[in-house]
Symmetry: C2
Subunit: 400 residues, 2 copies
Amino acid sequence: MTRSSISRRTVLQTAGGLLVASGMAPASAFAFQNESREEKDKDLIFRSTMPRNAEPELAKLVQSWQTPTELFYVRSHAPNPVIDPKQFKLSVEGLVRRPGTFSLDEIKQMPAVSTTATLTCAGNRRSEYNGSEYPNVPNVSGVQWEGGTIGNATWVGALLATLLKRVEVTEGAKHIWFEGLDEIPKKGSVIGFGGSIPIEKAMVEEGPGAPLLTYTMNGAALTPDHGYPLRMVVPGYIGARSVKWLGRIVVSDRPSPNHYVATAYKIVKKTSPIDWSESGPIYRFPINAAICTPAADSTLAAGSVKLTGYALPSGRNGSSIKDLLISADNGKTWTRGEMTGKKQDFCWQLWNAEVNVNANTKELLLRATDSSGDFMPARIPWNAKGYLRNSWYRLPVNVK
Amino acid sequence: MTRSSISRRTVLQTAGGLLVASGMAPASAFAFQNESREEKDKDLIFRSTMPRNAEPELAKLVQSWQTPTELFYVRSHAPNPVIDPKQFKLSVEGLVRRPGTFSLDEIKQMPAVSTTATLTCAGNRRSEYNGSEYPNVPNVSGVQWEGGTIGNATWVGALLATLLKRVEVTEGAKHIWFEGLDEIPKKGSVIGFGGSIPIEKAMVEEGPGAPLLTYTMNGAALTPDHGYPLRMVVPGYIGARSVKWLGRIVVSDRPSPNHYVATAYKIVKKTSPIDWSESGPIYRFPINAAICTPAADSTLAAGSVKLTGYALPSGRNGSSIKDLLISADNGKTWTRGEMTGKKQDFCWQLWNAEVNVNANTKELLLRATDSSGDFMPARIPWNAKGYLRNSWYRLPVNVK
């Protein structure tokens, strides 16, 4: 049983029959470069540079509710593709009556929608899985993210639903696949990063949960790091579903077989075929929160200390942070944080709090609940790929 | 988008093409009755009688490691079908080179395997979701199970893997569908109860995790309540995958579209199409445990009290209970329970413990961890169908 990913230069099989891959940007339209075109890398901490994976310092991250692009985490699996926007074509195929390609201009001519939405990596806080809490398990590999792979930006684009109506989705369509124009070496082949979302989400066309074919971020064209010239933004879902450098959409009766849907981004105890089959793809992000100031291992004077941070309610319509609590005495007593700034569906909230610390305070603990009934648990089971770390945030401090 | 279940008298569509339903037991081979043929109902507490849904008293349940058939919980969705074993045929279809039917004799002529395995309903402890812990949510409907929908029996049958080799599964097969001969009214149609398991599990042929086409339970023929004449037993998976009155197997490239795979037995906040699509089928059961004696709301004398119960490690090879802890002081201190009786993969374990109670003791708390890293959480989010309740078991008591 091999799990094949969509290979953009091979023949695709879907339930609708054989589809010859087509409509990709011609090879001449993009090339790859190994070095950064970004100028503001000083604002990010690079966990790797080839490919580019970076997160901001937490103190910088919570300076504003809307995250400046230069402070927005970068997650990539291959060098940024360089794409000529004039030659760019988005291909739409599969269970549709009118398959075809769309130029960037054609997409920009569709009604434009502006949405502010938080994206967060499923691997946010992954490095915490490698602590002393899990003594008898292998270290979790992958990018060792701290709590910075989250950001809240304003996106403008066409509704995915508009495009899907244009191509006339046929009966039996249940999932929409996305494929990036990046080129990721994988098991002797090269694949684009793939995502997939259920059609019920894809067809949302009202409110802040509607997925967008996005071409601007925070009022400017997407940068190469964020998917120029076109990316998906799927509010409420893990960042992996907001595929960057979007080049192809396939309408299907099942989730994408791409590696990043069928194998990666799953909660498994072992990276084995049976574990992958038993575990469904992650779509919605769960509640999460972090203390962003003071920094970890800060030396504090005994007495009152001010804290700031972010809290993300679970990715559902109408979900907002309900209780946000901090403890300086290992959970014996809890102090309520105050939510600040804006509260919008599918967006994080910022908070501040003031607690008293003393010489016995070794850690500050943070937990939160949301209005949909989700909460940060005290502990979370280890998983082999280190996803969805959302147990109580624990900030080590030294009090003098 | 309608979600169709396998209708055994209609045409099936799979990726392999159109399959005309065939090989079902002819209509004359089974009839349905609305009344019980069981004689030992006095041993069970019936939550409903049409259909038959019953669990034992917890005190009776833990009298032995191997659960007597008359104390084994009964879960059904329609009246028990009455099946003539001489006319019975199991149909095997889909992505196979040699589709066909198998009589009971043909299945019994395959090498017989005996396995002791625990089955547990995904709805075990469901009634706890309707307590004061969840003040602002609708009551969870469905059978209001307490902690008795679990049992550990010895099953004899042919390996599912033997059958699948016999029919020669073809490339692309990823999931095995099961369909019962029961007739469940559902949305204006009638369907058989359906299950589905990944092929990696279906092909296991060594060790106690191998799925069986089962015809005996605890040394006797299956009773009508437990699937006579043939049922699946899938060790490690929720009971819903161990389909009773098994009449058809379909080999497919995807999970079954049957209602009980695609819609029911999922963790959702709302019973809506998007929630169903975002949530994968439950396969493995998680860790769980209960205090079985004393009974809830018992009046106890202050001082030492003896407790007994069961603990089920998560449904994985080699998983066993690691720590089992009881608190009589609301979690301030914990006393270790002692595991008794046998420890076998995919089976529960029984335990006893002794704790001191006093006038302040309102509840006894139970939690457990297993060797695979799974643990019972202090709290668990509410879900709309009330599945997988495995947070700390809380037994209310009155101490005088």
